[in-house]
């Protein structure tokens, strides 16, 4: 798929912006703080309904205004689709496809993108939550229905935690435990689905990550991905380095759905006492992780800066590959936000080669020379929220 035209109203620093984009590589160049990332952030919003930089939508709306509008003319294999999203300060956000109202959560069906950003290093070095978010975003992009499963799971989790807390505060009573069982049922049903889907995704990502790592790093460090499931862990500490090996699921033995449910139930029974003491749910997909290894050692803590970057890039390339394989509306749009500045010359060239055959690649860079010449075809200059496109003027 392609973005033909992007227009923004009151988004971040832009009061109004119009950008025409071309198939293949598009490069946005400008000094720091001029609004390059804001352009690609807007497109990223259409595929994830969130920003890769902030968790709240409020920061996306230009100060002193009430609403930001992102409007993108897309092309799905020759067919034009106009997608519009209005991010409101005080009301619910609204969305339109081809000028008719749709539910906002329908929007990612029309636009898929994979965004590479300096923040990606946290995939390797950061907390488990970063990796869970990465997997879940990819799951939802591939199977939109799972967004509903995930939000139901979160709600059950909140209900169950509140119940555990109130049981703790009032001393445990038999009747409170009887309703706990009901929430256990929902937690296990929804949670097992998420665990199974995540594990299947990790298994599918593995060959793509291996290939992409080799392509980016130029060397084989036998990268591996393994699910770490909290329902298989006997201890309940928050420290994710403790008992590193015991709850790991090797990716070559896919977990079986029925086993997950019974393991989940067994874990809840095992942890019941502790859960009641602490007033929180101690196992489930909200406490899982996926462990990355290089040459048999965990990448977190052992890998060098360059190796960590290669792994992060390999994960993103792998997710783009997966979306491409499953897509019915063409390739996802690849967005490289300020990543070339982070990489050495060899990795820059190899990353450029890895994404070069996608239908459309959008790049932002502060320094033009950081970007490999292969990706510098259509260059747009950004300065203080104004867009200068030599191709459009010509």
């Amino acid at each position: 798929m392609l973005v033909r035209h992007l227009s923004l109203t009151d988004f971040r620093n832009y009061s109004a912006a119009e950008v025409a984009l071309q198939p293949g590589a598009n490069l946005f160049v400008g000094s720091n703080g001029q609004g390059k990332t804001n352009l690609v952030e807007a497109l990223g919003y259409l595929s994830t309904l969130g920003s890769h930089r902030v968790s709240s939508d409020q920061a996306l709306i230009r100060s002193t205004t009430q609403a930001a509008i992102i409007r993108a003319r897309l092309e799905h294999q020759g067919r034009e689709v106009l997608v519009e999203v209005q991010i409101n300060k005080s009301e619910a956000n609204r969305a339109q496809v081809n000028r008719s109202m749709v539910k906002i959560r329908e929007i990612p069906r029309f636009f898929s993108s994979v965004l590479f950003a300096p923040e990606d290093l946290a995939l390797v070095r950061g907390d488990p939550s970063v990796r869970r978010k990465f997997l879940d975003q990819l799951l939802v992009a591939r199977t939109p229905r799972l967004a509903g499963v995930a939000s139901d799971y979160d709600r059950v989790l909140r209900q169950r935690n509140t119940l555990l807390k109130s049981a703790r505060n009032s001393g445990v009573k038999a009747n409170q435990l009887s309703t706990l069982e009901i929430w256990d049922d929902r937690l296990v049903a929804l949670g097992s689905e998420i665990i199974a889907e995540r594990d299947a995704l990790v298994a599918r990502l593995r060959p793509h990550v291996e290939a992409a790592y080799l392509a980016v790093a130029g060397a084989d460090h036998s990268p591996r991905l393994m699910s770490r499931l909290s329902i298989l862990s006997s201890n309940s500490t928050d420290d994710d380095t403790a008992d590193a090996d015991e709850a790991l699921v090797a990716t070559d033995s896919p977990v079986i759905r029925a086993d997950i449910e019974s393991d989940f139930r067994a874990a809840l029974v095992r942890l019941r006492r502790q859960e009641l003491d602490r007033g929180i749910t101690l196992c489930g997909p909200h406490r899982d992780d996926v462990v990355f290894q290089l040459n048999g050692l965990p990448a977190k803590g052992y890998a060098s800066h360059g190796e960590s970057w290669s792994f992060a890039l390999a994960l993103k390339i792998a997710s783009a590959d997966l979306l491409r394989v499953d897509s019915t509306s063409g390739d996802p749009v690849v967005i490289l936000d300020d990543v070339f500045a982070e990489l050495d010359q060899a990795r820059r060239t190899r990353l450029a080669a890895a994404v070069a055959d996608y239908e459309q690649v959008l790049i932002t860079a502060a320094v033009f020379d950081d970007v490999p010449p292969a990706l510098a075809a259509h260059t747009v200059h950004i300065s203080a929220g104004t867009i200068v496109d030599p191709a459009a003027d010509a």
Partner: protein, 199 residues
């Protein structure tokens, strides 16, 4: 900010569900510019409603007498009870004219976040009604959301020991709708609950 009593009125109106500050202001000014007897009538009705309307001692529905008109109606079948969350749901089901049995209003759904457990709902009253052997079926018509489903599960567990037929309202496709516009959760439920075509 308005001065004194006007602002007080706006604040009070704004406390009502579904009314934001702007609507509250509009209503306040509408009241100010309306003939006096209208306001008196509204005030009377407001006081009257709090005075006269009670909750039915049997089913928990709203009623001006001790028991509601549905519980008093001898023509309704006395052996089926439909369990709903709110009195509003009784009105919705009555509109269908499909159901001729009795109701039981729980007064909400199990939701620890809102501090509502089984003890806060009229579940004990329901069990007392069911102790009378004439009830043959309980239809659970709680909302098809997480809290409604949790309440339904809780009730069905309580009721299975009583040897009463327990049924749950079906979830699925809206009538008169298009399949292509159904969201995947609804469509998935419709698949789960599919029926054998009768020959």
């Amino acid at each position: 900010m308005y001065e004194g009593i006007i602002q007080e009125l706006i604040d009070e109106l704004g406390r009502l569900p579904g009314i934001g500050p702007k609507s509250a202001q509009r209503i306040a000014f509408h009241i100010l510019q309306t003939e006096t007897f209208d306001v008196t009538r509204l005030a009377e009705v407001l006081i009257e409603v709090r005075d006269k309307v009670h909750f039915c001692s049997v089913c928990g529905n709203v009623s001006e007498q001790d028991t509601c008109s549905i519980c008093r109606d001898p023509r309704r079948s006395q052996n089926v009870i439909c369990v709903v969350e709110e009195a509003k749901d009784v009105v919705a089901i009555e509109r269908t004219r499909e159901f001729r049995g009795l109701y039981h209003v729980l007064g909400g759904a199990i939701s620890p976040i809102d501090g509502i457990g089984p003890d806060n709902l009229r579940i004990r009253e329901l069990m007392q009604r069911l102790a009378d052997a004439s009830i043959e079926e309980v239809i659970i018509a709680t909302d098809p959301n997480l809290e409604g489903e949790a309440t339904a599960t809780y009730l069905s567990r309580l009721l299975t020991v009583l040897e009463i037929r327990v049924t749950r309202l079906a979830s699925g496709l809206p009538v008169g709708g298009d399949l292509e516009y159904a969201d995947e959760v609804t469509l998935g439920r419709a698949f789960e609950g599919r029926r054998l075509v009768e020959k």
